[in-house]
């Protein structure tokens, strides 16, 4: 019997589990449960488990490799090809294909790898047809994998593409040498083959903001398409609000944002760590004018960071969140006839979007215009396009639409009337009296006020509790007779030094950079920083000075500085001459550009010192640092180094360029430049 069977097992002491059930138990149990299950199952509908037959290889449906035929079959006139590696270009293509509907057209996105692109010449068989290309560049200016065949075909073919309308949007990254090479090539080549380009090549920069580039290009692209085909945009296109205005008439002011970037009340109760969403309100402990003369105002500002636990290295950047000029904001309120202290929220109509509001809400219009929105830069064309509808005078409306269009006259008008004349939104409202948009739509369209970055002008090893800033106040007359003032520099200039009564603070955080002194202090450094480019080098020199005091072996410390007049804007003259006297600065070379007939700049001084410089660079492992203007100075200095390498190193120009490029790759030639 079962029981005796179980008992007759000789158990190892402690090693065998006691059987849970005897066999009889199990049999009876199973019988009962089985009955019950059967009873239950017969009462319920039997859940379908699909019949799973082993499938033989199903022949794939015959795929149409002719995109022309597919377009004809599905009644499309627009095809959007994408050269995509990570899916971004593909996504853009899908969006463009969907857009077409708004203009009474039908589009389809297509993978060039799946179709025979040589059929492009047949595109004219379709009425009002258009081929769009979203082409990403990969690696060293190469096509993406799925566009390789298309690229090869373009190079080899001599097809005639008359009657083929096209436009290209290029996706790439400016930090790469062959920025947007693929997009540019396709745009050029198709024209060479006789196709008709109907809108400018769009350039998307992933190092900046690819999405923004795409959206602003697209906003002008479709109107151009409509113009080309003589098609009217459907009504809904004219004003697409993204946000819905909500007025808060009776709200607890504790729930209202007053300038914070992230958490409500983050300015009242400050908690580290401090970053872009949670800046530290640093008291201003010094604010003096640096220059002795001239019409400009160069300033030295010190921010106190001891209570923040913020650490920095010389060479890092300090980011500050400025506030717009109150009088400009008040004028906007007056001209639009609005009570700026109304508390509002702008809520995204697209509930799926991550971006609930364009800026922290709820807030007053005043807060939005002072703290969150950029009202000083000339507005982009898409803003003009959206605002045009609010111009009651038809001429004004036409002017606005024209400037937003892609026609050559429109672009020229935008360039002269808006860009060259430096008209900001207030100026536009003043000069177009019939243009009176609702303020909430305006707030939706204005870009966000950005933080400004300054190279820190101090060394934390010498000044642990303060961060120094060296900046020139921006102020200039425009063609319209207005005076435009730089937002951050004017705001900083007006910061009164903190005393017991009044506390002046600057919302800031530190953004680490990779602009660093060599690890070994024995390595020589060559610093080139004219004008406010001197800033990070004040930190570098302070640090080298400290190391020398500490008895460390410090290599040569060479500075090339430049300004206009010795008597006017030789920044930090006293400090630098002290450092020179003390032997911390082994060489102080200053170019005064306007103190004589001919212009003398830092690059001229570099050439004058070419022998010594080459010795430092080639044999003593010197590190070179450039700080300041990107457009001209940095380029001219680089050329000077090519020449030094040629003349002192016996190299050809090509070899010299390669030599300097290698210094850059190896981190021995660094730049902190701005345009």
């Amino acid at each position: 019997m079962a029981d005796s069977e179980v008992e007759s097992q000789s158990p190892d002491p402690g090693a065998v589990e006691e059987p849970l059930f005897t066999t009889l138990d199990i049999v009876l149990f199973t019988f009962i449960v089985g009955l019950l299950i059967y009873w239950f199952m017969s009462r319920q509908k039997k859940e379908e488990i699909p019949e799973f037959k082993k499938l033989t290889a199903v022949a794939p449906p015959v795929r149409e490799t002719s995109f022309i035929e597919k377009m004809k079959k599905t009644n499309r006139n627009i095809v959007v090809f994408y050269g995509s590696q990570t899916g971004t270009a593909e996504e853009f293509s899908n969006r463009l294909a969907k857009d077409a509907q708004r203009y009474g057209m039908r589009g389809m996105a297509a993978d060039p790898e799946e179709y025979d692109l040589s059929e492009l010449s047949r595109l004219s068989e379709i009425n009002n047809s258009l081929a769009l290309f979203c082409m990403a560049t990969y690696g060293e200016g190469d096509p993406t994998d799925n566009a390789q065949d298309f690229y090869d075909w373009l190079q080899e073919t001599d097809a005639e593409l008359e009657g083929v309308n096209y436009t290209v949007f290029a996706l790439g990254n400016k930090t790469y040498e062959h920025y947007n090479a693929m997009g540019k090539y396709v745009d050029k080549r198709l024209a060479e083959l006789g196709a008709t380009r109907i809108f400018d090549l769009g350039m998307g920069d992933d190092d900046g903001n690819l999405e923004e580039d795409f959206v602003s290009w697209r906003e002008q692209f479709w109107p151009a398409v409509c113009e080309h085909f003589g098609v009217e945009a459907t009504g809904e296109e004219s004003s697409i609000r993204q946000y819905e205005l909500v007025l808060h008439t009776d709200i607890n002011m504790n729930k209202v944002y007053t300038g914070e970037l992230g958490r409500l009340k983050s300015f009242e109760t400050q908690k580290p760590p401090f970053d872009s969403k949670n800046p530290f309100l640093a008291p201003v402990t010094a604010n003096r004018k640096l220059n002795k003369g001239g019409s400009r105002h160069l300033m030295h500002v010190e921010l106190e960071i001891s209570s923040s636990k913020i650490r920095y290295d010389s060479g890092d950047h300090v980011a500050v969140y400025p506030i717009n000029d109150a009088s400009v904001v008040n004028k906007i309120g007056d001209i639009l006839g609005v009570d700026l202290d109304t508390v509002i929220s702008l809520n995204n109509l697209d509930e799926e979007s991550n971006k609930r509001h364009p800026f922290p809400c709820p807030a007053t219009y005043r807060t939005a215009l002072m703290h969150y929105l950029d009202v000083s830069n000339p507005p982009r064309t898409n803003v003009l396009y959206e605002l045009a509808q609010y111009a009651t005078d038809p001429k004004d409306q036409e002017t606005m639409r024209k400037m937003a269009s892609s026609s050559p006259e429109g672009k020229a008008l935008y360039h002269s009337w808006v860009l060259d004349s430096r008209r900001n939104i207030l100026a536009i409202l003043e000069d177009m009296p019939s243009l009176r948009p609702p303020i909430d739509h305006l707030c939706e369209l204005m870009p966000r006020l950005q933080a400004r970055y300054y190279s820190i002008a101090s060394s934390s090893k010498v000044h642990a509790n303060t961060i120094h800033i060296c900046a020139v106040v921006v102020e200039y007359e425009t063609k319209t007779g207005r005076t435009n003032k730089g937002v951050a520099t004017n705001w900083l200039k007006n910061k009164v030094v903190t005393d017991n009564g009044h506390k002046s603070t600057v919302p800031m955080y530190v953004r680490k950079s990779q602009f660093r002194l060599p690890f070994k202090s024995s390595n020589p450094v060559i610093m080139i920083g004219p004008g406010t480019g001197i800033a990070p080098f004040m930190g570098f020199i302070q640090e080298r000075g400290l190391l020398k005091e500490q008895g460390k072996e410090v290599g040569e410390t060479v500075l090339f500085y430049g300004c206009r007049h010795r008597g006017e804007d030789f920044l930090y003259q006293e400090e630098l001459e002290e450092f020179e006297k003390a032997g911390v600065l082994t060489q102080l070379n200053v170019a005064f550009s306007r103190d004589q007939e001919h212009k003398v700049y830092v690059q001229h001084l570099l050439k004058q010192n070419k022998e010594h410089l080459w010795k430092l660079i080639h044999s003593e492992n010197a590190h070179i640092y450039i700080c300041g203007d990107a457009r001209n100075m940095a380029r001219d200095v680089q050329t000077a180094f090519y020449e030094i390498a040629e003349e002192e190193g016996g190299l050809t120009r090509t070899q010299a360029v390669d030599y300097i490029k290698r210094l850059m790759t190896k981190g021995r030639y660094s730049q902190d430049v701005w345009s």
Partner: protein, 319 residues
């Protein structure tokens, strides 16, 4: 994950010591070897790097053919690797060969990886993940090096971090799309370097620091060899993942359905896979579950209660 993609051609211009002309009279370009560690490493690992880029795993990944399960296991391998490497770096941070390259805030990844694993496996991720055989060999070597010759840690750091800062952003987008990960970045913290504004500038700084290390020729050569070894370990991890991937792959192919790009390898989306699991796999699994539950006292109590309840229902119906 692939290592550094070179952004310069690495052509050598001869550098002679002692100032003056770069090339002495009649000297050929190739006769003078570079001394900079960064250049030695770039040249010395080029072959390994190309090989790693061309493994099936990497090629598939770049095309968006990466299954979530495989990506998770890859993240696990990375976690153990970086934890080992960063612990050894931390331990040796005063060592003259490590101090100039000590950038924990900028490049260390183990915390970011821990956050990713929490996203994929839940709060108790630590009890769920384990170090695979290939990852164990890799971390074993890292520990050995950290203990016996810390200067060689540079090779491991170079191989991983330079790569992360090169291909990183591309891989992040590929992974995000392939697995429909949220655009807010969960699961991809590994690719996000919040402490670095410009990857290019950081790599240049890192190279300059490597070149400032005081190392003799033999040590530099050992570092290059160790870097090639690091590539090798990475490729073994890829192979291991590929093998695992094949067992997942088999079930999809069984259905005879062509693997189409759109499905993007997310196996839970394959209708045939789900059905098959329900029809066959489910039953044996349920059986195992049942016996396991029954061994537990609570299971027995529940079962007794269930039987009692059923008996009650039957009685009610029959009455």
């Amino acid at each position: 994950m692939p290592a550094e993609k070179m952004d310069d051609s690495g052509k050598e211009a001869g550098i002679s010591n002692g100032g003056g002309l770069v090339y002495e009279e009649g000297e050929a370009e190739e006769s003078v070897r570079p001394e900079d560690l960064s250049e030695l490493l770039a040249a010395g690992t080029k072959e390994s790097h190309d090989k790693a880029e061309n493994t099936q795993f990497v090629k598939d990944f770049l095309k968006g053919r990466i299954r979530r399960e495989l990506f998770k296991l890859g993240t696990v391998a990375l976690y153990f690797t970086y934890t080992a490497m960063e612990e050894e770096i931390e331990r040796n941070k005063e060592h003259p060969a490590i101090a100039p390259l000590y950038f924990p805030a900028e490049i260390h990844r183990h915390e970011a990886l821990a956050r990713d694993l929490e996203y994929f496996y839940g709060e108790d991720w630590e009890s769920q993940v384990s170090c695979s055989p290939a990852a164990q060999r890799y971390t074993g070597r890292i520990r050995e090096v950290g203990r016996d010759e810390p200067a060689l840690l540079v090779a491991h750091a170079y191989t991983r971090y330079m790569g992360d800062l090169s291909g990183g952003q591309v891989l992040k987008k590929v992974a995000q799309r392939a697995m429909k990960l949220p655009s807010t970045g969960e699961g991809l913290n590994f690719f996000q370097f919040d402490g670095i504004h410009s990857a290019k500038a950081f790599k240049q700084l890192y190279r300059s620091r490597m070149n400032e290390l005081d190392l003799d020729e033999p040590t530099k050569e050992r570092i290059v060899a160790e870097a090639n070894l690091a590539f090798q370990f990475n490729m073994e991890v890829f192979s291991e993942l590929e093998e695992i991937g094949k067992t997942l792959q088999d079930e999809v192919l069984d259905a005879g359905m062509p693997v189409h790009g759109d499905v993007q390898g997310d196996i839970s989306k394959c209708p045939y896979y789900n059905t098959k699991m329900a029809a066959s796999g489910g039953a044996s699994y349920a059986c195992q579950m049942a016996t396991a539950a029954l061994r537990h006292p609570t299971g027995q109590v529940l079962l007794a209660a269930l039987v009692a309840a059923l008996a009650g229902l039957v009685a009610w119906y029959l009455m």
